[in-house]
Structures are given as structure tokens and as C-alpha cells.
């Protein structure tokens, strides 16, 4: 059985195993089992659709964290026709957990920034598991200001469990770096498309998350804190993470309803990791569509719309109107 399947995929994996067995059996004994295989494949497809159309938030979170999920650099390679990575914040160092550069998608020049995770342990240590330091956020800001100067749309790909909690990060102003980015992104006069491609971990995600369009891939999450941390704080039990994942409303569908994200980008059946090419194609189409729409706006309109989008977020109760009407 393949090692990297998720709990809820078990029936599906078992079915696939059976198909593989039949295939080898067919070759070995030279018996025609095509019909039987076809039948099982069809059943697998139906089963997959069934499983994936009824995923719980906790299950979606597992897909978002899947070790084989395409990373920022995977998407860049498949989405861009050309890409040149650019390094460093010009102040302290180069953060390998938050990368960026310039590229071309068709005839559209772009600046792309994004959190970078690894796939192997070694790779992940080098990438600090996609947890950026202040220098990462400052590099991202440098590249965004450059994009503004040279009139290139910006694509920000979010995939982080959170900003890194460490001594150096605190010394160099992790909080300030994230805050500064949000404030400055409000003033950048080129279109900014933000896409959550995996984990949208709290402030670490939001540090590159202020844009004209905020999209989420189908099986990703975006949360104020990790469900594990929420469960540990509120229920003093990290095992309640599943409950917390539900309560926190972290899925693309939930966040569309709360008007925090603007769109959902479909993923291939079974999740982005099952088909890199198709995932990248779907993402590319969506990005180009949004850039074309945003390009029609003047810089003033763009900034105004971006401001209004964030300005209206939140839900409150305000009593004064009721009282005034009673007067």
C-alpha cells in the first residue's frame, strides 16, 4: 500500500490495490480481466467523488498539509513560461522559507512571492518548514515595491503553518515585518493576486496576504491559529483539534460565506498532489483571468477597491441606529 495516503482515503486505496493486483494477475496468467478492471476503476471514481465532496474541515486540512502537495516553486515552474528567482532582503539575509522573483506567464510579466516548503525532511529543514523569518517578509516587500515601480502584477502564494517563532525572529522584529507588509501592500499600485495553495497559517500567511483578489485552492485552509493550538488553549486537549477545525471555519467554502476570500480554485480529483500539471493549469487560468480583469482598473480604483474590501471585514452589532429611530 502506498505510504502517503490519508486515513479517509483508505477505501479508495484498497480499491486501487485490487485493480493493481488484477492487472498483474492478468499479465501473469494471460487472462482477460479488462472488464472487471474497468468496473473497479469506475467504482473507484465514484467513491473518490463521494469521499471528496463530503470532506470534513479536518480532512481538508490533512490534504492541505500533504507532504507531496505541490509547493510554490512547483507551481512557478508549471505556471510560468519563464522565472528568475531573486534573493535577499538587502538588510540581513536571504530567507529560504519565503521566496520570490520575476517571471512571465504567456505575455504577462509578473512578480511572484510565496512561502516555500520542502518535501523531504532534509529539504524541509532547509526551508524551515515554510515558516518565514522577518527577512523573508522584508524580501517579499522589496520585491513587491520593485513590481510596483516596474508595473508588474504581483502573485502571492501562501503556504505556511505560521511565521517562525524563534529568538532571532523576535530580535529582528517578526511582528513589525508582518505589520509593515500589510500596511504597504495597501499602497502598491499594481494588481495583487493572493492564493492560498496549502496552509494559510495566521499572521504568517497574512504577512503576504493583502491583495485585490484572495483565492483559495479547493483543499486548503486559512485560520486565525492552528486547530491544534486552539484546542490546546480552549479545551486543554490537542486531540480536540478536529472539533476546533470545524468551529474555526477555516475552509474555502466557509471563508467564501464570511466574505473573506473571493474565489475557490478547483483542484484535480483527489487533490492537487495527484496531478501537478492539471493543478497548475487550473491555477494559471484563474490567475490570468483575474489579472486581466484587474488590469482594466486605474491605479486609484484598484487601491480604493482593495481598501474597501478589507475595510468592510468583520461582523458586529451596533445599537445606535435602533435607538435613533426610536426617538
Amino acid at each position: 500500500m502506498p505510504s502517503n495516503y490519508l486515513d479517509f482515503e483508505k477505501p479508495l486505496v484498497e480499491l486501487e490495490e485490487k485493480v493493481n493486483e488484477l492487472k498483474s494477475f492478468m499479465e501473469e496468467k494471460e487472462i482477460d480481466l479488462t472488464e472487471e478492471i474497468e468496473r473497479l476503476n469506475k467504482r473507484a471514481k465514484v467513491l473518490q467523488e463521494e469521499i471528496f465532496s463530503n470532506l470534513e474541515p479536518w480532512q481538508i486540512l490533512q490534504i492541505a498539509r500533504h507532504p507531496e502537495r505541490p509547493t510554490t516553486l512547483d507551481y512557478i515552474e508549471l505556471v510560468c513560461d519563464e522565472f528568475i528567482e531573486l534573493h535577499g532582503d538587502r538588510q540581513f539575509s536571504d530567507d529560504k522559507a519565503l521566496i520570490g522573483g520575476i517571471g512571465r506567464i504567456g505575455d504577462v510579466p509578473v512578480t511572484i512571492i510565496g512561502h516555500q516548503k520542502g518535501k523531504t525532511t532534509k529539504d524541509n529543514i532547509e526551508r524551515n518548514f515554510g515558516m518565514a523569518h522577518p527577512e523573508g517578509y522584508r524580501k517579499a516587500l522589496r520585491l513587491m515595491k520593485q513590481a510596483d515601480k516596474f508595473n508588474r502584477p504581483i502573485i502571492a502564494l501562501i503556504n505556511t503553518p505560521g511565521a517562525y517563532p524563534g529568538v532571532g525572529a523576535e530580535e529582528r522584529g517578526q511582528a513589525e515585518a508582518i505589520a509593515r507588509n500589510m500596511m504597504e501592500m495597501a499602497g502598491i499600485k499594481v494588481p495583487i493576486i493572493v492564493v492560498i495553495i496549502g496552509e494559510g497559517g495566521s499572521g504568517g500567511a497574512l504577512g503576504i496576504g493583502v491583495g485585490d483578489r484572495v483565492l483559495m485552492l479547493e483543499y486548503t485552509y486559512y485560520s486565525v491559529c492552528s486547530p491544534e493550538a486552539c484546542a490546546a488553549i480552549l479545551w486543554k486537549d490537542a486531540k480536540e483539534a478536529e472539533t476546533a477545525a470545524k468551529a474555526l471555519k477555516i475552509t474555502a467554502k466557509d471563508l467564501m460565506e464570511l466574505e473573506i476570500v473571493d474565489g475557490i480554485v478547483s483542484e484535480p480529483p483527489g487533490g492537487a498532489h495527484k496531478d501537478y500539471q492539471l493543478s497548475a493549469q487550473l491555477l494559471r487560468d484563474e490567475i490570468l483571468k483575474e489579472i486581466n480583469k484587474l488590469n482594466e482598473l486605474s491605479p486609484e480604483e484598484l487601491l480604493k477597491q482593495r481598501y474597501n474590501k478589507f475595510r468592510k471585514m468583520g461582523q458586529i452589532k451596533e445599537e445606535s441606529e435602533k435607538i435613533l429611530s426610536e426617538l
Binding site: 511565521a163 517562525y164 517563532p165 524563534g166 529568538v167 525572529a169 523576535e170 530580535e171 529582528r172 522584529g173 517578526q174 511582528a175 513589525e176 508582518i178 505589520a179 509593515r180 500589510m182 500596511m183 504597504e184 501592500m185 495597501a186 499602497g187 495566521s202 499572521g203 497574512l206 504577512g207 496576504g209 493583502v210 486559512y222 485560520s223 486565525v224 491559529c225 486552539c230 488553549i233 480552549l234 468551529a247 474555526l248 471555519k249 477555516i250 471563508l255 464570511l258 473573506i260 482593495r306 481598501y307 478589507f310 475595510r311 471585514m313 468583520g314 461582523q315 458586529i316 452589532k317 451596533e318 445599537e319 445606535s320 435602533k322 435607538i323
Partner: protein, 305 residues
């Protein structure tokens, strides 16, 4: 006298209230009946130097330990009394209240509990007031209310305070003090208040208005990683704990002991994250001086125009 300000609200609220003012009655009654005789109400033990301090003496000393100088936390009301000229504060948006947008388990009960405990509707008081004769748009967080965490109400009130500073051309002062960061119970709606306040501060910057951020104990997470770090001038109180991630989380992550004085106001000063550490007794005076100099700048601007 300054000492008399503590525990009393000496300002008016501009909106009509739907029911009798809960705030003033509760704050002045300072808690539940029968508690008065408890020694806890008479004495406080300083966590820093273990000195036992007579509460009256502590209040006289602006809630700073007379023996070691530890700055105890102030409520939002106390903070306003400390900074604003007597009788010169008008509260705005006092009628904003939290709802439970995610239907999060037990959130309403939590909010009600803290409303009763603090006499506040939520974790911030905002308004317009005078500091040594300079009119400012002021906001003060209250760390007692769900750890001073930011939810939709706090974000909205802060944003309106920023907008008032823009519209009325006033300097903005926000006193941060919240260990809770973005409030979990409102999920992503809370997180987005970080973005909302930060993008509003961009507008303030573009309008050319001054923003002084005052960081008090504790300022963490979504509070420090948004408006609190974005002042033209950032001032912290001595010993205030300020940081992005909580010390426990960092310790668990790096599996090492944290350096002495880590995440204190003095630590931030050393690493260049704040402009000044100012004692509570000198805070109003310092703000007054900054506002004096700032006003001279705007007067020059007018002359040139």
C-alpha cells in the same frame, strides 16, 4: 490630582445608551459586594519584588511598584485618565458589541462574563480627547477583556478611530495592551482585523497624520503584528512584555531556554523596534512634548502653503 482619576471615569460618552450606564456603575462599585473586606482589596503583592503594597499607595503611584518600579497593568479607563486632561474625553462607538458570527461554542457566555467583569462592551475604548491641550484621536485596549484580544469590534473601533484622525486631522494615539492577539472565537474575522487596521493606517500615513503607538504589558500576536508596531513613534512602558510569538511557544520550538530579559520593552529598544521606553509617570509629559513639536511642524506646513 492624577491619583484621584484611577477607578473613576471622568469623561462622557457621546452616544445615547439604551440602558443605564453599566460601565460607570460597575467600575465605581469596583466588583461584587462583600468583597470589600477581603485583604486582597487592600493589599497587592508585587510579582517582581514580592513587596506587599497598600492598594491606596499603589494607586497614588499610578500602579507602579514604589519599591522596584514594576508597572502593573492599567485598565482602559485608568489609561485614559492618566493621559487625557481632566474632563476632556468624549467616548465614541461605545455601543458596538460582539456577535457570534461563527456560532463558536460558549462565545456569548465568555463575552457576557467579561462585560460584567470589566464594565466594558469589548476590549477597547476609543474617542477624542486632549493631551496637554492637544486634541487627539485616542484608543486604549483593556487587557482584562478576553486578554485584550482583537475581534471584529476592536478592529472596527480602532479603524473608526483612525478614520476620525484622518477626517478631523488629528494625531492618533493607540495604547496597545493585549496578550491574546487575534481573538480565536471569531476565527478569520479576527485575523482580518489585523489587515483592516493596517490598511487604514496606510490611509492615515497618506493623509500625513501622526500616529504614536504606545505598547504596554502585554502586547503580542495579532496586536503587535499589526497596528501596534506601525507608529511613526513607538513608545513602550518599562518592563512591558512585547513580542510576536508567546515565550512558551518559542521555548517549545527551539527547545532552549530564552535569554534573560527576552521580549521586554528594553529588549525591543536594544534591537531597534521601539523609539523609547518611558516611565508611566512621564508618559503624558513625553506625549505632550512630542505633540508640541509635531504641531510646530504642521504650522510650518501651513505657512508654506
Amino acid at each position: 490630582m492624577l491619583k484621584d482619576f484611577f477607578g473613576k471615569s471622568k469623561y462622557v460618552t457621546v452616544e445615547r445608551k439604551s440602558r443605564p450606564s453599566r460601565r460607570s456603575s460597575e467600575v465605581e462599585g469596583s466588583g461584587k459586594e462583600g468583597r470589600k473586606e477581603m485583604p486582597d482589596d487592600l493589599w497587592t503583592k508585587c510579582k517582581e519584588c514580592k513587596e506587599i503594597i497598600f492598594n491606596k499607595k499603589l494607586a497614588e503611584n499610578l500602579k507602579v511598584c514604589p519599591s522596584c518600579g514594576k508597572h502593573f497593568r492599567l485598565t482602559a479607563t485608568e489609561r485614559i485618565s492618566l493621559l487625557i486632561d481632566e474632563g476632556k474625553f468624549e467616548e465614541y462607538d461605545a455601543n458596538l458589541e460582539a456577535i457570534n458570527p461563527l456560532d463558536f461554542p460558549n462565545y456569548e457566555e465568555k463575552v457576557e462574563k467579561y462585560q460584567r467583569k470589566t464594565g466594558l462592551k469589548d476590549a477597547v475604548i476609543t474617542g477624542i480627547g486632549d493631551i496637554n491641550g492637544h486634541t487627539v484621536s485616542l484608543a486604549a485596549l483593556d487587557s482584562r477583556f478576553l486578554m485584550g484580544s482583537m475581534n471584529s469590534v476592536v478592529g472596527e473601533k480602532l479603524t473608526r478611530a483612525i478614520e476620525r484622525a484622518i477626517d478631523q486631522e488629528l494625531p492618533l494615539i493607540i495604547v496597545a495592551g493585549g496578550g491574546g492577539g487575534a481573538r480565536m472565537y471569531e476565527g478569520m474575522l479576527s485575523l482580518m482585523q489585523m489587515a483592516k487596521t493596517s490598511v487604514a493606517l496606510k490611509q492615515l500615513e497618506q493623509a500625513g497624520q501622526l500616529f504614536i503607538s504606545i505598547l504596554t504589558d502585554p502586547t503580542y500576536g495579532g496586536i503587535s503584528a499589526s497596528f501596534a508596531s506601525l507608529g511613526d513613534i513607538n513608545i513602550a512602558e518599562p518592563g512591558a512584555k512585547i513580542g510576536f510569538a508567546g515565550p512558551r511557544v518559542i521555548k517549545q520550538t527551539i527547545n532552549k531556554d530564552l535569554p534573560a530579559g527576552f521580549q521586554t520593552a528594553e529588549f525591543l529598544l536594544k534591537y531597534g523596534m521601539i523609539d523609547k521606553v518611558v516611565k508611566r509617570s512621564e508618559l503624558k509629559h513625553t506625549l505632550g512634548k512630542i505633540l508640541d513639536i509635531h504641531q510646530m511642524g504642521s504650522m510650518r506646513g501651513e505657512r508654506d502653503a
